[in-house]
Protein backbone atom coordinates (compact mmCIF):
# COMPACT_ATOMS: atom_id res chain seq x y z
CA UNK A 1 0.00 0.00 0.00
CA UNK A 2 2.77 2.37 1.01
CA UNK A 3 4.45 1.70 -2.35
CA UNK A 4 1.37 2.85 -4.26
CA UNK A 5 1.06 5.98 -2.13
CA UNK A 6 4.68 6.74 -2.97
CA UNK A 7 4.01 6.29 -6.68
CA UNK A 8 1.16 8.78 -6.35
CA UNK A 9 3.33 11.30 -4.52
CA UNK A 10 6.04 10.79 -7.12
CA UNK A 11 3.69 11.55 -9.97
CA UNK A 12 2.43 14.60 -8.05
CA UNK A 13 5.94 15.97 -7.61
CA UNK A 14 6.89 15.15 -11.19
CA UNK A 15 4.20 17.55 -12.41
CA UNK A 16 5.89 20.30 -10.38
CA UNK A 17 8.67 20.43 -12.95
CA UNK A 18 6.25 21.98 -15.42
CA UNK A 19 5.63 25.06 -13.30
CA UNK A 20 5.22 27.55 -16.11
CA UNK A 21 2.39 25.37 -17.32
CA UNK A 22 0.44 26.19 -14.17
CA UNK A 23 0.22 29.87 -15.08
CA UNK A 24 -0.65 29.15 -18.68
CA UNK A 25 -3.33 26.74 -17.64
CA UNK A 26 -4.88 29.21 -15.20
CA UNK A 27 -4.95 31.76 -17.98
CA UNK A 28 -6.37 29.22 -20.42
CA UNK A 29 -9.13 28.17 -18.04
CA UNK A 30 -10.03 31.78 -17.41
CA UNK A 31 -10.24 32.40 -21.16
CA UNK A 32 -12.42 29.35 -21.78
CA UNK A 33 -14.81 30.23 -18.96
CA UNK A 34 -14.88 33.89 -20.06
CA UNK A 35 -15.83 32.97 -23.65
CA UNK A 36 -18.52 30.55 -22.55
CA UNK A 37 -19.92 33.05 -20.04
CA UNK A 38 -20.17 35.73 -22.73
CA UNK A 39 -21.83 33.32 -25.16
CA UNK A 40 -24.44 32.23 -22.63
CA UNK A 41 -25.14 35.84 -21.62
CA UNK A 42 -25.68 36.75 -25.28
CA UNK A 43 -27.83 33.70 -26.05
CA UNK A 44 -30.01 33.66 -22.94
CA UNK A 45 -29.89 37.29 -21.86
CA UNK A 46 -31.84 38.07 -18.71
CA UNK A 47 -34.61 35.54 -19.36
CA UNK A 48 -34.59 31.76 -19.44
CA UNK A 49 -34.22 29.15 -22.18
CA UNK A 50 -35.69 25.71 -21.48
CA UNK A 51 -36.02 26.85 -17.86
CA UNK A 52 -32.29 27.61 -17.51
CA UNK A 53 -30.89 31.06 -16.74
CA UNK A 54 -27.61 32.57 -17.97
CA UNK A 55 -26.21 32.50 -14.43
CA UNK A 56 -26.91 28.78 -14.20
CA UNK A 57 -25.17 28.21 -17.53
CA UNK A 58 -22.11 30.11 -16.34
CA UNK A 59 -21.89 27.89 -13.28
CA UNK A 60 -22.37 24.89 -15.55
CA UNK A 61 -19.46 26.06 -17.75
CA UNK A 62 -17.21 26.67 -14.75
CA UNK A 63 -17.85 23.20 -13.34
CA UNK A 64 -17.29 21.55 -16.73
CA UNK A 65 -14.07 23.40 -17.50
CA UNK A 66 -12.68 22.50 -14.10
CA UNK A 67 -13.77 18.87 -14.49
CA UNK A 68 -11.73 18.69 -17.68
CA UNK A 69 -8.70 19.98 -15.77
CA UNK A 70 -9.23 17.52 -12.93
CA UNK A 71 -9.43 14.58 -15.32
CA UNK A 72 -6.10 15.42 -16.92
CA UNK A 73 -4.31 12.36 -15.53
CA UNK A 74 -2.40 11.51 -18.73
CA UNK A 75 -2.86 7.82 -18.06
CA UNK A 76 -2.61 6.69 -21.67
CA UNK A 77 0.42 8.81 -22.48
CA UNK A 78 2.17 7.33 -19.47
CA UNK A 79 1.63 3.78 -20.70
CA UNK A 80 2.51 4.84 -24.22
CA UNK A 81 5.76 6.34 -22.94
CA UNK A 82 6.78 3.20 -21.13
CA UNK A 83 5.83 1.00 -24.07
CA UNK A 84 7.96 3.09 -26.40
CA UNK A 85 10.98 3.45 -24.13
CA UNK A 86 10.78 -0.15 -22.95
CA UNK A 87 10.59 1.00 -19.32
CA UNK A 88 7.59 -1.28 -18.99
CA UNK A 89 10.11 -4.14 -18.71
CA UNK A 90 11.31 -3.01 -15.30
CA UNK A 91 7.80 -1.99 -14.24
CA UNK A 92 6.62 -5.53 -14.93
CA UNK A 93 9.48 -7.30 -13.15
CA UNK A 94 8.36 -5.92 -9.81
CA UNK A 95 5.82 -7.51 -7.49
CA UNK A 96 3.31 -4.78 -8.30
CA UNK A 97 -0.14 -4.75 -9.76
CA UNK A 98 0.34 -2.73 -12.92
CA UNK A 99 -3.23 -1.37 -12.97
CA UNK A 100 -2.92 -0.19 -9.37
CA UNK A 101 0.45 1.32 -10.16
CA UNK A 102 -1.16 3.30 -12.99
CA UNK A 103 -4.11 4.26 -10.82
CA UNK A 104 -1.85 5.65 -8.11
CA UNK A 105 0.15 7.70 -10.62
CA UNK A 106 -3.11 8.93 -12.15
CA UNK A 107 -4.43 9.96 -8.75
CA UNK A 108 -1.17 11.79 -8.11
CA UNK A 109 -1.59 13.76 -11.34
CA UNK A 110 -5.23 14.53 -10.64
CA UNK A 111 -4.31 15.58 -7.12
CA UNK A 112 -1.78 17.97 -8.55
CA UNK A 113 -4.36 19.39 -10.94
CA UNK A 114 -6.78 19.82 -8.07
CA UNK A 115 -4.34 21.82 -5.97
CA UNK A 116 -2.63 23.87 -8.67
CA UNK A 117 -5.28 24.32 -11.35
CA UNK A 118 -8.79 23.50 -10.22
CA UNK A 119 -8.90 25.30 -6.89
CA UNK A 120 -7.16 28.52 -8.06
CA UNK A 121 -9.27 28.58 -11.25
CA UNK A 122 -12.40 28.08 -9.19
CA UNK A 123 -11.56 31.04 -6.97
CA UNK A 124 -10.76 33.26 -9.95
CA UNK A 125 -13.96 32.27 -11.78
CA UNK A 126 -16.02 32.78 -8.62
CA UNK A 127 -14.80 36.37 -8.29
CA UNK A 128 -15.00 37.18 -11.98
CA UNK A 129 -18.26 35.54 -13.03
CA UNK A 130 -20.06 34.49 -9.85
CA UNK A 131 -21.06 30.97 -8.88
CA UNK A 132 -24.49 29.73 -7.92
CA UNK A 133 -24.44 27.68 -4.67
CA UNK A 134 -25.46 24.00 -4.95
CA UNK A 135 -29.20 23.42 -5.10
CA UNK A 136 -29.21 21.75 -1.65
CA UNK A 137 -27.01 19.87 0.78
CA UNK A 138 -28.27 16.64 -0.70
CA UNK A 139 -27.43 17.81 -4.21
CA UNK A 140 -23.96 18.79 -3.06
CA UNK A 141 -23.41 15.30 -1.65
CA UNK A 142 -24.59 13.89 -4.97
CA UNK A 143 -22.20 16.24 -6.74
CA UNK A 144 -19.24 14.90 -4.75
CA UNK A 145 -20.30 11.33 -5.52
CA UNK A 146 -20.57 12.27 -9.19
CA UNK A 147 -16.99 13.61 -9.14
CA UNK A 148 -15.84 10.30 -7.70
CA UNK A 149 -17.64 8.49 -10.52
CA UNK A 150 -16.16 10.86 -13.09
CA UNK A 151 -12.67 10.09 -11.82
CA UNK A 152 -13.22 6.35 -11.87
CA UNK A 153 -14.81 6.31 -15.35
CA UNK A 154 -12.15 8.62 -16.72
CA UNK A 155 -9.31 6.46 -15.33
CA UNK A 156 -10.91 3.34 -16.75
CA UNK A 157 -11.37 4.91 -20.18
CA UNK A 158 -7.76 6.13 -20.17
CA UNK A 159 -6.61 2.67 -19.12
CA UNK A 160 -8.72 1.07 -21.84
CA UNK A 161 -7.06 3.27 -24.43
CA UNK A 162 -3.63 2.37 -23.03
CA UNK A 163 -4.41 -1.31 -23.35
CA UNK A 164 -5.57 -0.96 -26.94
CA UNK A 165 -2.24 0.79 -27.52
CA UNK A 166 -0.57 -2.59 -26.84
CA UNK A 167 -1.93 -3.69 -30.21
CA UNK A 168 -1.53 -0.56 -32.28
CA UNK A 169 1.68 0.63 -30.54
CA UNK A 170 0.50 4.22 -30.62
CA UNK A 171 -2.09 5.83 -28.43
CA UNK A 172 -2.35 9.20 -30.15
CA UNK A 173 -5.15 8.46 -32.61
CA UNK A 174 -7.11 6.61 -29.94
CA UNK A 175 -6.67 9.41 -27.48
CA UNK A 176 -7.82 11.88 -30.10
CA UNK A 177 -10.93 9.83 -30.76
CA UNK A 178 -11.71 9.51 -27.07
CA UNK A 179 -11.28 13.28 -26.79
CA UNK A 180 -13.81 13.75 -29.57
CA UNK A 181 -16.37 11.50 -27.89
CA UNK A 182 -15.86 13.26 -24.60
CA UNK A 183 -16.28 16.71 -26.17
CA UNK A 184 -19.60 15.79 -27.76
CA UNK A 185 -21.20 13.33 -25.38
CA UNK A 186 -19.98 14.60 -22.01
CA UNK A 187 -22.01 17.78 -22.48
CA UNK A 188 -18.97 19.86 -21.69
CA UNK A 189 -19.70 22.54 -24.28
CA UNK A 190 -23.39 22.08 -24.78
CA UNK A 191 -25.47 20.67 -21.91
CA UNK A 192 -27.34 17.52 -22.82
CA UNK A 193 -30.71 19.19 -22.12
CA UNK A 194 -30.19 21.28 -25.28
CA UNK A 195 -29.53 18.16 -27.39
CA UNK A 196 -32.17 16.92 -29.85
CA UNK A 197 -34.15 13.90 -28.63
CA UNK A 198 -32.13 11.22 -30.47
CA UNK A 199 -28.74 12.59 -29.45
CA UNK A 200 -29.93 13.02 -25.91
CA UNK A 201 -30.83 9.36 -25.63
CA UNK A 202 -27.54 8.32 -27.27
CA UNK A 203 -25.61 10.42 -24.77
CA UNK A 204 -27.73 8.89 -22.01
CA UNK A 205 -26.54 5.41 -22.91
CA UNK A 206 -22.85 6.29 -23.17
CA UNK A 207 -20.45 6.66 -20.21
CA UNK A 208 -19.12 10.07 -21.30
CA UNK A 209 -21.91 12.12 -19.71
CA UNK A 210 -20.49 11.26 -16.30
CA UNK A 211 -17.34 13.21 -17.09
CA UNK A 212 -19.02 16.62 -17.28
CA UNK A 213 -22.76 16.84 -17.60
CA UNK A 214 -23.74 14.69 -14.64
CA UNK A 215 -21.68 16.44 -11.92
CA UNK A 216 -22.76 19.88 -13.16
CA UNK A 217 -26.43 18.98 -13.53
CA UNK A 218 -26.52 17.38 -10.09
CA UNK A 219 -24.87 20.46 -8.57
CA UNK A 220 -27.36 22.82 -10.20
CA UNK A 221 -30.29 20.66 -9.17
CA UNK A 222 -31.84 20.50 -12.66
CA UNK A 223 -32.49 16.84 -11.99
CA UNK A 224 -34.92 15.47 -9.42
CA UNK A 225 -33.58 13.41 -6.53
CA UNK A 226 -34.85 10.18 -8.13
CA UNK A 227 -33.30 11.07 -11.49
CA UNK A 228 -30.03 11.80 -9.71
CA UNK A 229 -30.10 8.47 -7.90
CA UNK A 230 -30.81 6.59 -11.15
CA UNK A 231 -27.91 8.37 -12.87
CA UNK A 232 -25.48 7.63 -10.05
CA UNK A 233 -26.42 3.95 -10.09
CA UNK A 234 -25.93 3.95 -13.85
CA UNK A 235 -22.49 5.48 -13.33
CA UNK A 236 -21.55 2.73 -10.89
CA UNK A 237 -22.75 0.17 -13.42
CA UNK A 238 -20.59 1.76 -16.12
CA UNK A 239 -17.56 1.65 -13.84
CA UNK A 240 -18.20 -2.03 -13.21
CA UNK A 241 -18.61 -2.80 -16.92
CA UNK A 242 -15.41 -0.95 -17.83
CA UNK A 243 -13.59 -2.66 -14.97
CA UNK A 244 -14.54 -6.09 -16.31
CA UNK A 245 -13.49 -5.12 -19.86
CA UNK A 246 -10.08 -3.75 -18.87
CA UNK A 247 -9.45 -6.72 -16.61
CA UNK A 248 -10.06 -9.14 -19.48
CA UNK A 249 -8.14 -7.01 -21.95
CA UNK A 250 -5.15 -6.64 -19.61
CA UNK A 251 -4.66 -10.40 -19.55
CA UNK A 252 -4.57 -10.45 -23.33
CA UNK A 253 -2.44 -7.34 -23.62
CA UNK A 254 0.31 -8.76 -21.41
CA UNK A 255 0.57 -11.76 -23.69
CA UNK A 256 0.84 -9.43 -26.65
CA UNK A 257 3.57 -7.36 -25.19
CA UNK A 258 6.43 -6.61 -27.49
CA UNK A 259 9.21 -4.86 -25.75
CA UNK A 260 10.79 -2.29 -27.94
CA UNK A 261 14.47 -2.53 -28.66
CA UNK A 262 14.97 -5.95 -27.23
Amino acid sequence: MKAYIMFGVKSFTKQMSYRSEVWLRLLGNFAVIFIQAEIWKAVIGSGQVDGVSAQQMITYSIINTLMLALLLHRMSSQVDGSLKSGAIASELTKPLSYPLFLLSSGLGSSGYQLVFTVIPSLLIAWFAFGLIPPASGLHFAGFLAAIGLALSISFLLGYLISLIAFWVMNHFALDWMLGGFITIFSGTFLPLWFFPEAWQSAAGWLPFQFLGYVPAAVYLGTLSVTETMVLLVKGVAWSAILLVIVHKLWKKAVRRLVIQGG
Partner: protein, 336 residues
Protein backbone atom coordinates in the same frame (compact mmCIF):
# COMPACT_ATOMS: atom_id res chain seq x y z
CA UNK B 1 18.12 -28.98 -8.27
CA UNK B 2 17.51 -26.83 -11.31
CA UNK B 3 15.78 -23.50 -10.88
CA UNK B 4 15.53 -22.72 -14.56
CA UNK B 5 14.28 -25.30 -17.01
CA UNK B 6 14.15 -24.31 -20.67
CA UNK B 7 12.82 -26.93 -23.04
CA UNK B 8 12.57 -26.37 -26.78
CA UNK B 9 11.68 -22.70 -26.44
CA UNK B 10 11.04 -20.69 -29.61
CA UNK B 11 10.04 -17.05 -29.89
CA UNK B 12 9.00 -15.49 -33.17
CA UNK B 13 8.01 -11.91 -33.82
CA UNK B 14 5.68 -10.91 -36.58
CA UNK B 15 7.01 -7.95 -38.47
CA UNK B 16 4.63 -6.19 -40.83
CA UNK B 17 6.22 -5.35 -44.11
CA UNK B 18 6.96 -1.70 -44.72
CA UNK B 19 7.51 -0.27 -48.14
CA UNK B 20 10.05 2.48 -48.70
CA UNK B 21 9.24 5.97 -49.91
CA UNK B 22 6.17 8.16 -49.64
CA UNK B 23 3.95 6.00 -51.83
CA UNK B 24 5.30 2.99 -50.01
CA UNK B 25 4.22 4.36 -46.65
CA UNK B 26 0.67 4.72 -47.97
CA UNK B 27 0.87 1.15 -49.22
CA UNK B 28 2.12 0.01 -45.79
CA UNK B 29 -1.19 1.20 -44.35
CA UNK B 30 -3.14 -1.38 -46.28
CA UNK B 31 -0.82 -4.35 -46.37
CA UNK B 32 -1.12 -7.33 -44.10
CA UNK B 33 2.08 -8.92 -45.37
CA UNK B 34 4.51 -9.80 -42.67
CA UNK B 35 7.70 -11.70 -42.06
CA UNK B 36 8.18 -13.98 -39.10
CA UNK B 37 11.44 -13.27 -37.38
CA UNK B 38 12.73 -15.99 -35.13
CA UNK B 39 14.59 -14.45 -32.22
CA UNK B 40 14.99 -17.71 -30.29
CA UNK B 41 14.88 -21.08 -31.99
CA UNK B 42 14.27 -24.35 -30.17
CA UNK B 43 16.60 -23.68 -27.25
CA UNK B 44 16.92 -26.03 -24.28
CA UNK B 45 19.07 -25.83 -21.17
CA UNK B 46 18.73 -26.04 -17.46
CA UNK B 47 20.41 -24.04 -14.76
CA UNK B 48 20.98 -25.29 -11.24
CA UNK B 49 20.61 -23.37 -8.00
CA UNK B 50 23.72 -21.34 -7.26
CA UNK B 51 25.18 -21.51 -10.75
CA UNK B 52 26.64 -18.47 -12.51
CA UNK B 53 26.02 -18.64 -16.22
CA UNK B 54 27.18 -16.29 -18.95
CA UNK B 55 24.69 -15.96 -21.80
CA UNK B 56 26.63 -14.84 -24.78
CA UNK B 57 26.13 -14.06 -28.43
CA UNK B 58 26.59 -11.38 -31.04
CA UNK B 59 24.11 -8.50 -31.35
CA UNK B 60 20.66 -9.70 -32.32
CA UNK B 61 21.33 -13.28 -31.25
CA UNK B 62 18.25 -13.35 -29.05
CA UNK B 63 19.88 -12.90 -25.65
CA UNK B 64 17.58 -10.20 -24.33
CA UNK B 65 14.52 -12.01 -25.66
CA UNK B 66 15.53 -15.08 -23.64
CA UNK B 67 16.06 -13.01 -20.49
CA UNK B 68 12.69 -11.35 -20.97
CA UNK B 69 11.00 -14.72 -21.33
CA UNK B 70 12.68 -16.01 -18.18
CA UNK B 71 11.57 -12.93 -16.25
CA UNK B 72 8.01 -13.40 -17.47
CA UNK B 73 7.53 -10.26 -19.54
CA UNK B 74 7.56 -12.06 -22.88
CA UNK B 75 5.63 -15.20 -23.63
CA UNK B 76 7.37 -17.96 -25.65
CA UNK B 77 5.77 -18.85 -28.98
CA UNK B 78 6.32 -22.53 -28.28
CA UNK B 79 8.21 -24.80 -25.94
CA UNK B 80 8.12 -24.94 -22.18
CA UNK B 81 9.86 -22.70 -19.73
CA UNK B 82 9.96 -22.98 -15.96
CA UNK B 83 11.62 -20.65 -13.52
CA UNK B 84 11.52 -21.57 -9.81
CA UNK B 85 9.08 -24.27 -10.83
CA UNK B 86 6.57 -21.79 -12.27
CA UNK B 87 5.67 -20.71 -15.76
CA UNK B 88 7.15 -17.20 -15.62
CA UNK B 89 4.46 -15.14 -17.36
CA UNK B 90 1.69 -16.82 -15.38
CA UNK B 91 3.36 -16.32 -12.01
CA UNK B 92 5.03 -13.04 -12.88
CA UNK B 93 4.34 -11.30 -9.59
CA UNK B 94 5.12 -14.33 -7.46
CA UNK B 95 8.42 -15.00 -9.26
CA UNK B 96 9.44 -11.35 -9.18
CA UNK B 97 9.85 -11.55 -5.39
CA UNK B 98 12.59 -14.15 -5.85
CA UNK B 99 14.26 -12.45 -8.78
CA UNK B 100 16.49 -9.46 -9.28
CA UNK B 101 16.62 -7.95 -12.73
CA UNK B 102 19.08 -5.39 -14.07
CA UNK B 103 18.81 -4.07 -17.60
CA UNK B 104 22.11 -2.31 -18.27
CA UNK B 105 20.63 0.08 -20.77
CA UNK B 106 17.55 0.98 -18.75
CA UNK B 107 17.21 2.50 -15.37
CA UNK B 108 14.76 1.50 -12.69
CA UNK B 109 15.76 4.44 -10.50
CA UNK B 110 13.92 7.67 -9.82
CA UNK B 111 15.78 10.07 -12.00
CA UNK B 112 15.36 13.31 -10.07
CA UNK B 113 15.34 11.99 -6.51
CA UNK B 114 18.25 11.03 -4.23
CA UNK B 115 19.53 7.46 -4.49
CA UNK B 116 18.25 6.68 -1.01
CA UNK B 117 14.66 7.44 -2.11
CA UNK B 118 14.83 4.75 -4.77
CA UNK B 119 16.08 2.28 -2.17
CA UNK B 120 13.26 3.29 0.16
CA UNK B 121 10.67 2.77 -2.54
CA UNK B 122 12.15 -0.65 -3.21
CA UNK B 123 11.65 -1.49 0.46
CA UNK B 124 7.93 -0.73 0.17
CA UNK B 125 7.44 -2.41 -3.19
CA UNK B 126 8.94 -5.65 -1.87
CA UNK B 127 7.56 -5.14 1.66
CA UNK B 128 10.94 -5.74 3.27
CA UNK B 129 11.27 -5.74 7.06
CA UNK B 130 13.42 -2.81 8.19
CA UNK B 131 16.17 -5.02 9.68
CA UNK B 132 16.56 -7.10 6.52
CA UNK B 133 16.54 -3.98 4.37
CA UNK B 134 19.18 -2.30 6.55
CA UNK B 135 21.59 -5.20 6.68
CA UNK B 136 21.39 -5.89 2.93
CA UNK B 137 21.79 -2.24 2.12
CA UNK B 138 24.83 -1.98 4.41
CA UNK B 139 26.35 -5.06 2.79
CA UNK B 140 25.97 -3.55 -0.70
CA UNK B 141 26.97 -0.03 0.32
CA UNK B 142 30.21 -1.30 1.72
CA UNK B 143 31.20 -3.72 -1.04
CA UNK B 144 30.20 -1.34 -3.81
CA UNK B 145 31.48 1.74 -1.94
CA UNK B 146 28.29 3.68 -2.45
CA UNK B 147 28.22 5.75 0.74
CA UNK B 148 29.61 8.88 -0.92
CA UNK B 149 26.66 9.29 -3.27
CA UNK B 150 23.68 7.94 -1.32
CA UNK B 151 22.13 11.40 -0.96
CA UNK B 152 22.85 12.58 -4.50
CA UNK B 153 20.05 12.75 -7.07
CA UNK B 154 20.31 9.87 -9.52
CA UNK B 155 20.72 12.16 -12.51
CA UNK B 156 24.02 13.45 -11.07
CA UNK B 157 25.60 10.01 -10.80
CA UNK B 158 28.22 8.76 -13.22
CA UNK B 159 27.31 5.71 -15.25
CA UNK B 160 29.51 3.52 -13.06
CA UNK B 161 27.88 4.80 -9.87
CA UNK B 162 24.41 4.38 -11.31
CA UNK B 163 25.13 0.82 -12.33
CA UNK B 164 26.33 -0.03 -8.84
CA UNK B 165 23.09 1.38 -7.45
CA UNK B 166 21.03 -0.64 -9.93
CA UNK B 167 22.79 -3.86 -8.98
CA UNK B 168 22.54 -3.17 -5.25
CA UNK B 169 18.85 -2.48 -5.66
CA UNK B 170 18.21 -5.75 -7.45
CA UNK B 171 19.68 -7.64 -4.47
CA UNK B 172 17.98 -5.94 -1.53
CA UNK B 173 15.10 -8.41 -1.43
CA UNK B 174 17.49 -11.38 -1.38
CA UNK B 175 16.51 -12.90 -4.70
CA UNK B 176 17.43 -16.48 -5.55
CA UNK B 177 18.12 -15.56 -9.18
CA UNK B 178 19.77 -12.46 -10.51
CA UNK B 179 19.34 -11.60 -14.19
CA UNK B 180 21.78 -9.08 -15.59
CA UNK B 181 21.43 -7.82 -19.15
CA UNK B 182 24.75 -6.22 -20.11
CA UNK B 183 25.59 -4.89 -16.65
CA UNK B 184 29.04 -3.53 -17.53
CA UNK B 185 28.16 -1.84 -20.80
CA UNK B 186 29.97 1.47 -21.16
CA UNK B 187 31.81 1.32 -17.83
CA UNK B 188 35.46 2.07 -17.15
CA UNK B 189 37.89 -0.65 -16.08
CA UNK B 190 37.76 0.11 -12.36
CA UNK B 191 33.98 0.18 -12.22
CA UNK B 192 33.85 -3.08 -14.21
CA UNK B 193 36.30 -4.73 -11.82
CA UNK B 194 34.36 -3.68 -8.77
CA UNK B 195 31.10 -4.94 -10.18
CA UNK B 196 32.63 -8.25 -11.22
CA UNK B 197 34.15 -8.80 -7.82
CA UNK B 198 30.88 -7.94 -6.13
CA UNK B 199 28.88 -10.31 -8.31
CA UNK B 200 31.34 -13.11 -7.62
CA UNK B 201 31.01 -12.54 -3.89
CA UNK B 202 27.22 -12.52 -4.15
CA UNK B 203 27.29 -15.76 -6.11
CA UNK B 204 29.75 -17.52 -3.81
CA UNK B 205 28.68 -16.29 -0.41
CA UNK B 206 24.97 -15.64 -0.81
CA UNK B 207 24.51 -18.50 -3.28
CA UNK B 208 22.51 -16.32 -5.64
CA UNK B 209 22.24 -17.85 -9.11
CA UNK B 210 23.41 -15.44 -11.77
CA UNK B 211 22.43 -15.30 -15.42
CA UNK B 212 24.32 -12.61 -17.24
CA UNK B 213 24.46 -11.43 -20.82
CA UNK B 214 27.44 -9.45 -21.97
CA UNK B 215 29.76 -8.69 -24.83
CA UNK B 216 32.73 -8.42 -22.52
CA UNK B 217 34.35 -11.83 -22.13
CA UNK B 218 36.20 -10.69 -19.04
CA UNK B 219 32.83 -10.48 -17.26
CA UNK B 220 32.25 -14.13 -18.03
CA UNK B 221 35.76 -15.18 -17.01
CA UNK B 222 35.53 -13.33 -13.72
CA UNK B 223 32.03 -14.36 -12.71
CA UNK B 224 30.81 -17.40 -14.57
CA UNK B 225 32.08 -20.94 -14.73
CA UNK B 226 29.54 -21.91 -17.34
CA UNK B 227 28.76 -20.32 -20.64
CA UNK B 228 25.87 -20.58 -23.06
CA UNK B 229 26.56 -19.20 -26.53
CA UNK B 230 23.74 -18.38 -28.94
CA UNK B 231 23.91 -17.20 -32.50
CA UNK B 232 20.97 -16.16 -34.70
CA UNK B 233 18.55 -17.68 -32.22
CA UNK B 234 20.30 -21.06 -32.04
CA UNK B 235 22.22 -22.50 -29.12
CA UNK B 236 25.77 -23.16 -30.28
CA UNK B 237 27.67 -23.91 -27.10
CA UNK B 238 26.74 -24.89 -23.57
CA UNK B 239 29.52 -25.89 -21.23
CA UNK B 240 32.38 -24.72 -19.09
CA UNK B 241 34.46 -21.71 -20.04
CA UNK B 242 37.72 -23.66 -19.76
CA UNK B 243 36.44 -26.41 -22.04
CA UNK B 244 35.67 -23.96 -24.81
CA UNK B 245 39.08 -22.42 -24.37
CA UNK B 246 40.73 -25.82 -24.71
CA UNK B 247 38.59 -26.69 -27.67
CA UNK B 248 39.31 -23.54 -29.64
CA UNK B 249 42.07 -21.65 -27.94
CA UNK B 250 44.90 -24.14 -28.33
CA UNK B 251 47.11 -21.56 -29.97
CA UNK B 252 49.83 -19.46 -28.46
CA UNK B 253 51.51 -16.45 -29.92
CA UNK B 254 55.32 -16.38 -29.74
CA UNK B 255 57.18 -13.16 -30.41
CA UNK B 256 60.97 -13.42 -30.79
CA UNK B 257 63.50 -10.58 -31.03
CA UNK B 258 66.68 -11.61 -32.86
CA UNK B 259 70.03 -9.82 -32.61
CA UNK B 260 70.02 -9.52 -36.40
CA UNK B 261 67.63 -10.66 -39.10
CA UNK B 262 68.20 -14.40 -39.52
CA UNK B 263 66.33 -14.53 -42.84
CA UNK B 264 63.88 -17.38 -43.42
CA UNK B 265 63.49 -19.74 -40.54
CA UNK B 266 62.18 -23.28 -40.77
CA UNK B 267 60.94 -24.63 -37.46
CA UNK B 268 58.43 -27.42 -37.08
CA UNK B 269 55.46 -26.44 -34.89
CA UNK B 270 55.77 -22.67 -35.41
CA UNK B 271 54.03 -20.77 -38.19
CA UNK B 272 55.28 -17.32 -39.08
CA UNK B 273 52.44 -14.78 -38.99
CA UNK B 274 54.30 -11.49 -38.87
CA UNK B 275 57.83 -10.64 -40.04
CA UNK B 276 59.43 -7.32 -39.08
CA UNK B 277 63.03 -8.37 -39.74
CA UNK B 278 64.58 -8.71 -36.30
CA UNK B 279 61.16 -9.19 -34.66
CA UNK B 280 59.12 -12.14 -35.81
CA UNK B 281 55.79 -13.39 -34.50
CA UNK B 282 54.82 -17.04 -34.73
CA UNK B 283 51.70 -18.99 -33.99
CA UNK B 284 52.20 -22.15 -31.99
CA UNK B 285 49.63 -24.95 -32.07
CA UNK B 286 49.63 -27.14 -29.03
CA UNK B 287 50.86 -30.61 -29.98
CA UNK B 288 53.25 -33.19 -28.59
CA UNK B 289 56.07 -30.66 -28.11
CA UNK B 290 55.74 -27.73 -25.75
CA UNK B 291 56.13 -24.14 -26.80
CA UNK B 292 59.17 -23.91 -24.54
CA UNK B 293 60.95 -26.73 -26.36
CA UNK B 294 60.31 -25.03 -29.68
CA UNK B 295 61.67 -21.72 -28.52
CA UNK B 296 64.79 -23.23 -26.95
CA UNK B 297 65.49 -25.20 -30.14
CA UNK B 298 65.25 -21.95 -32.03
CA UNK B 299 67.55 -20.19 -29.55
CA UNK B 300 70.19 -22.87 -30.06
CA UNK B 301 70.27 -22.23 -33.82
CA UNK B 302 69.82 -18.45 -34.01
CA UNK B 303 70.95 -15.44 -31.98
CA UNK B 304 67.82 -14.82 -29.89
CA UNK B 305 67.71 -11.62 -27.78
CA UNK B 306 64.29 -11.98 -26.21
CA UNK B 307 61.17 -14.13 -26.46
CA UNK B 308 57.63 -13.68 -25.18
CA UNK B 309 54.78 -16.18 -25.15
CA UNK B 310 51.15 -15.12 -25.01
CA UNK B 311 48.21 -17.39 -24.50
CA UNK B 312 45.24 -16.47 -26.61
CA UNK B 313 42.72 -14.46 -24.61
CA UNK B 314 39.11 -15.51 -24.35
CA UNK B 315 38.05 -12.72 -26.70
CA UNK B 316 39.85 -14.29 -29.59
CA UNK B 317 38.47 -17.69 -28.62
CA UNK B 318 34.99 -16.31 -29.00
CA UNK B 319 35.91 -14.47 -32.16
CA UNK B 320 37.08 -17.78 -33.56
CA UNK B 321 33.85 -19.47 -32.54
CA UNK B 322 31.76 -16.81 -34.28
CA UNK B 323 33.95 -17.03 -37.38
CA UNK B 324 33.59 -20.80 -37.47
CA UNK B 325 29.83 -20.45 -37.21
CA UNK B 326 29.78 -17.91 -40.03
CA UNK B 327 31.91 -20.19 -42.15
CA UNK B 328 29.64 -23.16 -41.51
CA UNK B 329 26.61 -21.16 -42.49
CA UNK B 330 28.22 -19.94 -45.68
CA UNK B 331 29.10 -23.52 -46.60
CA UNK B 332 25.58 -24.67 -45.86
CA UNK B 333 24.17 -21.92 -48.07
CA UNK B 334 26.50 -22.82 -50.90
CA UNK B 335 25.44 -26.45 -50.73
CA UNK B 336 21.80 -25.46 -50.53
Amino acid sequence: MSIIEVDGVTKTYRQYKRFPGLLGSVRSLFTRQYVEETAVRDISFSIGEGEAVGYLGPNGAGKSTMIKMMTGILVPTSGSLRVLGNIPHEKRKQNSREMGVVFGQRSQLWWDLPVMDSFDLHKYVYRLPESQFRSNLDFCTELLSMSSFMQKPVRQLSLGQRMRVEIAMSLLHEPRILFLDEPTIGLDVIAKDQIRQFLRTVNEEKKVSIILTTHDMKDIEAICSRMIVVNKGNLVYDGSVSHLRNQLGNEQRVTIDFRFDPGTIETPGLTLIQDNGVRKTFLFERSHTTVFECVSRLAAQYPVEDASIETEDIDSVIRKLYQQLDQKERERREIG
